[in-house]
Amino acid sequence: MTIARYILPGLVFIIVCRAIYKKLPAIDLFVEGINEAITLMKQLFPRLLALIFSVKLLLYSDVFGWIKTGLNTITHEQISGELWPLLLIKPLSGSASLAITEDIFSRFGPDSSLGLIASVMQGATDTTLYIVTVYFGAVGIKHVKTALKVGLMADFIGIMTAVFIAKWFFSL
């Protein structure tokens, strides 16, 4: 889809044209926006560092490996063992889940049944923990419980739906 590539530049074009037409003090407004961005970032950085450190520590340790083995024995591999890591890591880390998807693509191919299911999973939900941290971090609010709870529940629903929809849609 080539239209997508034109959206952002097109938007800037429209904004600039409008600013010239209305004779706006564009630089002053632009600088005002930049200052706001810097203020936001100041509040965000410490929280982001705390989150990234904890996720890195967790991913480095082999906790997910143990969970995977445990789940495989419980579910009798109804959901293929290759998909469990993606399912568990998806809400935690965007880059880690991307790496797993790439791994599945390179080993089984993007058009294999595993590749298709992984694609739908990857596309259907976002990195909940990261988004919750960034968004609430920007306002320095600690009461993230509801958002996190609902977000993770929605992730669970999303991932299960992804598996079922993918199996049904591609009749795997």
Binding site: K22, G33, K56, G123, D126, Y135, F136, G158
Partner: protein, 187 residues
């Protein structure tokens, strides 16, 4: 709380497997990653919030907000109707639907700042972002193409169905949670 559990699990596993020397390495690495990510995010925020300010002064944002007013007012019923937050929320949702998550984040953060104190509205916005309703998964299709997929775009429809179901159920869950708490407080 969750953060402490993560650290505890990670640390105990490091102790258990006697890899005590990787801790410093992980610290340095996470600081590096955070700096990279923050730099990226800061650049995006500076430029998009800058352009947004100009667009706002040119009445362009108001146009977009008016178009999306009805669904937004239903979702964010607790926000004052004339609040500036609506324009940022509208921009955030628009960019997200186009699959341009990076451009969407600055507006979402700005909206959060304006919604401060209104827990229900803040949570709704975050949930809309985490459930990831995208009309066109740009990055995913690029990834599939990179691995020589013959039909890279076959996943559009199932992804759309799934993210729609996820978003709807997230909104329902949210409503139920907040309603339950409301009743509980009343009693």
């Amino acid at each position: 709380m969750i953060w402490l559990v993560f650290i505890l699990l990670g640390i105990s596993s490091l102790l258990f497997t006697q890899q005590t020397d990787v801790l410093t390495m992980l610290m340095i690495e996470s600081a590096k990653d955070t700096a990279m990510l923050s730099a990226h995010l800061l650049v995006l925020m500076m430029f998009w919030l800058g352009f947004m300010k100009i667009a706002e002064a040119g009445d362009l944002i108001q146009l977009l907000t008016r178009l999306m007013k009805r669904p937004l007012m239903w979702l964010f019923s607790s926000v004052d109707q004339n609040s500036q937050a609506f324009s940022y929320i509208a921009s955030n949702i628009c960019f997200n639907m186009l699959g341009l998550g990076n451009a969407a984040t600055p507006f979402g953060l700005k909206a959060m700042q304006l919604l401060k104190g209104n827990n229900q509205a803040m949570t709704t916005l975050v949930i809309l972002n985490t459930s990831g309703l995208a009309l066109y998964p740009t990055n995913l299709i690029a990834l599939r193409l990179a691995f020589d997929s013959r039909e890279a775009s076959v996943i559009i429809l199932p992804v759309l169905i799934t993210s729609f179901i996820t978003t709807v159920s997230a909104i329902i869950l949210l409503r139920v949670t907040f309603n339950a708490r409301h009743k509980w407080v009343k009693q």
